[in-house]
């Protein structure tokens, strides 16, 4: 549905987006991740035909963004970083205006307005001036505006910024509900959001593509070593953490043991080991035989946050060493 080839954008002095290429299949939700200034907004602006690229090209919904921008624009919905609202318009009036701009009219337009008002929970502010809405409501109206013409491809730049927790959940559900018929690219800083909503992640840093993969693959790829979390409790109301630590370290295959937290007589340990070398049964036995209770034993999945930090850090470290070498 989206196919990006070596897309590049240069501003005076800096390269905001540097030769990135990726593909997005129809009906997928893709999370676009990167630290501030990575080039997410710039990439979205190019894919929505707002900014022309300095080099490279892309096809969106089967049309080239340079050759047939009008055809592309007919098939996309876009929620920019700041919702593009006119403060002097009322919500319903604004949605009507946008609907007409996107080519809707008559009964169909009215139907779509009612539908998006309900989906994005803006029905109760239909006759309010947009300039007087709160930030969260503006964001909702922005989202309503993006989906009003039922576009094939949706670009959402930080769609949940400024929303309350309930609305964040509803927006996530809305986005998930739209997947299937719609292809969605959303940028965000909130990593759990990506874990929850997206099937695929694209990570960029300083304009360069760092990784593009499914969430699960990324997690297993980033986890070179295997680690498990073990919660141990003492039987008579007290627990000697160093003793437990020593005991766990003696189990074969175990590398490092770290006590993550301790509450009363319970303590949580993270145990690292080389892949496939550690027997969880041995761990459990060691704990129980020493007279402690084993409350919990589970694999520690690396959070996307850690993966993200690891990937973007190693990338900048790599460029730094490259710089040093060239000097």
């Amino acid at each position: 549905m989206i196919s990006v080839k070596e897309l590049t954008k240069r501003y005076a002095g800096i390269i905001a987006v540097n030769q990135i290429s990726f593909d997005v299949a129809k009906g997928q939700i893709v999370g676009f991740l990167g630290p501030n200034g990575a080039g997410k907004t710039t990439t979205m602006r190019m894919l929505t035909c707002f900014l022309p690229p300095s080099a490279g090209t892309a096809t969106v919904a089967g049309f080239d963004i340079l050759e047939q921008p009008i055809e592309v624009k007919k098939r996309i919905g876009y929620l920019p970083e700041t919702p593009p609202i006119y403060p002097e318009m009322e919500t319903a009036e604004y949605l009507k205006f946008v609907g007409k701009l996107k080519g809707l009219s008559g009964a169909e337009l009215r139907k779509r307005i009612d539908y998006v008002c309900e989906r994005c929970a803006v029905g109760d502010v239909k006759t309010k001036l947009l300039g007087k809405l709160s930030k969260g409501y503006r964001q909702r109206v922005g989202l309503a505006q993006a989906i009003i013409h039922n576009p094939e491809v949706l670009f959402l730049d930080e769609p949940t910024a400024g929303l309350d927790p309930k609305q964040i959940n509803e927006t996530r559900d809305l986005i998930k509900g739209l997947a299937g018929d719609h292809t969605i690219v959303l940028s965000t800083h909130i990593l759990p959001e990506v874990e929850q909503t997206c099937e695929q992640v694209i990570i960029i840093n300083q304009g360069k593509l760092v990784a593009t993969d499914s969430v699960r693959n990324l997690q297993s790829r980033a986890r070179g070593a295997e680690s498990v979390l073990v919660e141990v409790a003492g039987r008579n109301g007290s627990l000697e953490v160093p003793a437990v630590q020593r005991k766990l370290e003696q189990v074969s295959g175990v590398g490092r043991v770290v006590c993550k937290q301790q509450v009363d007589s319970r303590a949580l340990f993270e145990i690292e080991s080389q892949k496939g070398r550690m027997a969880r049964g041995d761990l459990a036995r060691a704990v129980v035989e020493s007279g402690w209770d084993l409350n919990e034993l589970r694999p520690a999945a690396m959070s996307l946050e850690e993966i993200f930090l690891q990937l973007t850090k190693s990338e900048s470290a790599a460029t730094e060493t490259a710089k040093k070498e060239s000097e």
Binding site: K74, P80, E81, I85, Y86, E93, L101
Partner: protein, 255 residues
């Protein structure tokens, strides 16, 4: 065409929900009204003086009242046009709504013409107030309506050209004040540049007075349709809108 109308409607809407349109209408009506009654007063007093001296000069209301008033309306418009055009693109760039327009299936030219047309329609509303004053002349006198109609045509063409220039300047900045001030400066220059023709007759002076927006209005004021002058205004409109289109394209390169 449908898209042009959608944009135009939206622009007119935002003129008339904000105080700006009413402010401009009131100020224009007051200032023009002042000019009108002043001019009429002079005309009446002159007429009485002539009668007292027993002279019978032909008094002509078209020549002595309507024509100078139309010229004045054009010049007053010069001060109002920057206030009409300054927000057209600068505002959209500042608030980011330009991203909505530019990612909708609508051509740049349709956006530009829609906005320019809305500005022109607002200017027509201003002119409507001048027409109320003139209606008074028809009620109590017997002026010739043809030069008046021609004068209005000239005013519209002149405003169209100035509005196109203002629209262009509005695409250059995010700041309405800068857009307004720059437009005002440029239009003032296009007015006074014609004055050199009054004492110089060499080539460059003729070139300057040809460029003057107001000098082309004279024929319309006299009630004559001079195709040279009409062509000048129409060319200026096209040039202004063309520059706007170019600027919008490069604006995307820069923004």
């Amino acid at each position: 065409m449908r898209n042009v109308w959608i944009i135009c409607r939206k622009e007119l809407g935002s003129y008339f929900v904000s105080p700006i349109a009413y402010l401009l209408l009131t100020m224009f009506a007051v200032i023009f009204g002042f000019f009108f009654w002043n001019m009429l007063g002079i005309f009446v007093v002159e007429g009485m003086e002539m009668q007292m001296r027993g002279q019978v000069y032909p008094m002509n209301i078209n020549e002595q009242v309507i024509r100078p008033l139309l010229m004045n309306a054009g010049v007053i418009g010069l001060f109002f046009i920057p206030m009409i055009t300054m927000r057209l693109f600068a505002e959209e760039k500042r608030t980011g709504t330009i991203e909505l327009l530019a990612t909708s299936p609508i051509r740049d030219l349709e956006i530009i013409i829609g906005k320019w047309l809305a500005a022109l329609l607002l200017y027509c509303c201003l002119l409507l107030f001048t027409a109320l004053n003139f209606a008074f002349l028809f009620r109590y006198g017997n002026p010739d309506w043809k030069p008046l109609a021609m004068g209005y045509l000239g005013l519209l063409l002149q405003a169209g050209a100035l509005l196109a220039i203002g629209t262009f300047i509005s695409t250059l900045t995010k700041n309405q004040i800068i857009a307004g001030a720059a437009t005002f400066g440029v239009e003032l220059l296009l007015w006074v540049i014609g004055w050199v023709g009054e004492y110089e007759t060499s080539g460059w002076a003729r070139g300057f007075s040809y460029m003057s927006i107001t000098s082309h209005f004279e024929s319309f004021g006299r009630g004559v349709l001079d195709s040279k002058d009409a062509v000048f205004y129409i060319a200026a409109i096209f040039l202004g809108l063309f520059l706007t289109a170019r600027s919008m394209e490069s604006l995307r390169w820069r923004s």
